[in-house]
Amino acid sequence: MSDATEETAPITLYRLQACPFCERVVRKLDEYDLDYHSRFVEPMHSDRNAVKRVSGSRTVPAIVDETTGVTMSESGNIVEYLDKTYGSEN
């Protein structure tokens, strides 16, 4: 898995260590064998400016997908997006 996180990967995942919602997105990224780069942020909500700068919100997980130009928060939304964009029906 670690070689799937190179800095040139088109998808950046903003995540919090051990956050189950973030791990849910990781599972989905792995399921579709997508290259992604992890960017870890602080547990303290008010300290998460790195996420807010890109998504407008301090919630994690958030992804930035340069392939499609999509930036998105909330694991349910992200999983649905990944299914629609990279799922087997595509």
Partner: protein, 171 residues
């Protein structure tokens, strides 16, 4: 936890279980005041040890675990020494101890060798070259026999504090 989706299962582990010998080790043991090399066996010689492996200092599970253990204060009611272990450096441990206002010392094991000895290594996805212990709790008596063992089977997962409490009470 019921989140409406599956969380990550961790692989099977060959960690020590009740009745088996806990691997001895020596690492810097950090208090709010200082740190010095200390061995598990030397600690255990003073009384039973509740050895708590936790994710790196600053992670939310580390905060949750130490808030709960501080609140429960097993050492106030029983003959047990509560001791932590993570991959964080002694400096970070001092910060955690101060932030959480806790009286418990923490082993510092940046190279994660203790977790290897206990077979509880958790390789961290997205942090190349970094591994840490899975969350785990071992109650160890004076001759290093394990009296209670809990190791996370999912990521994340938290100890069953009531079970730990029962184990400490039955020493």
């Amino acid at each position: 936890m019921d989140l409406g989706f599956d969380i990550v299962d961790l692989p099977e582990s060959d960690h020590p279980v009740e009745g088996e010998q806990a691997p001895d080790f020596t690492r810097p043991l950090v208090t709010s005041d200082h740190w010095e090399d200390a061995s598990l066996s030397a600690l255990a010689a003073d009384g039973p040890v509740l050895l708590v492996f936790h994710p790196m200092d600053g992670s939310f599970p580390a905060t949750y675990v130490w808030n709960e253990l501080t609140e429960r204060a097993f050492d106030d009611h029983h003959d047990v020494q509560v001791v932590g272990c993570s991959i964080s450096t002694p400096y970070e441990h001092m910060t955690l101890i101060d932030d959480r206002e806790m009286d418990y010392p923490l082993f510092s094991d940046p190279q994660n060798g203790v977790a290897e000895a206990y077979d509880i290594v958790n390789d961290l996805d997205g942090m190349a070259g970094v591994s840490e212990p899975r969350p785990a709790v071992f109650l160890i008596d004076s001759d290093l026999t394990v009296q209670y063992a809990w190791v996370a089977a999912e990521w994340p997962e938290f100890p069953d504090y009531d079970a730990v409490s029962d184990a400490v009470a039955s020493l």
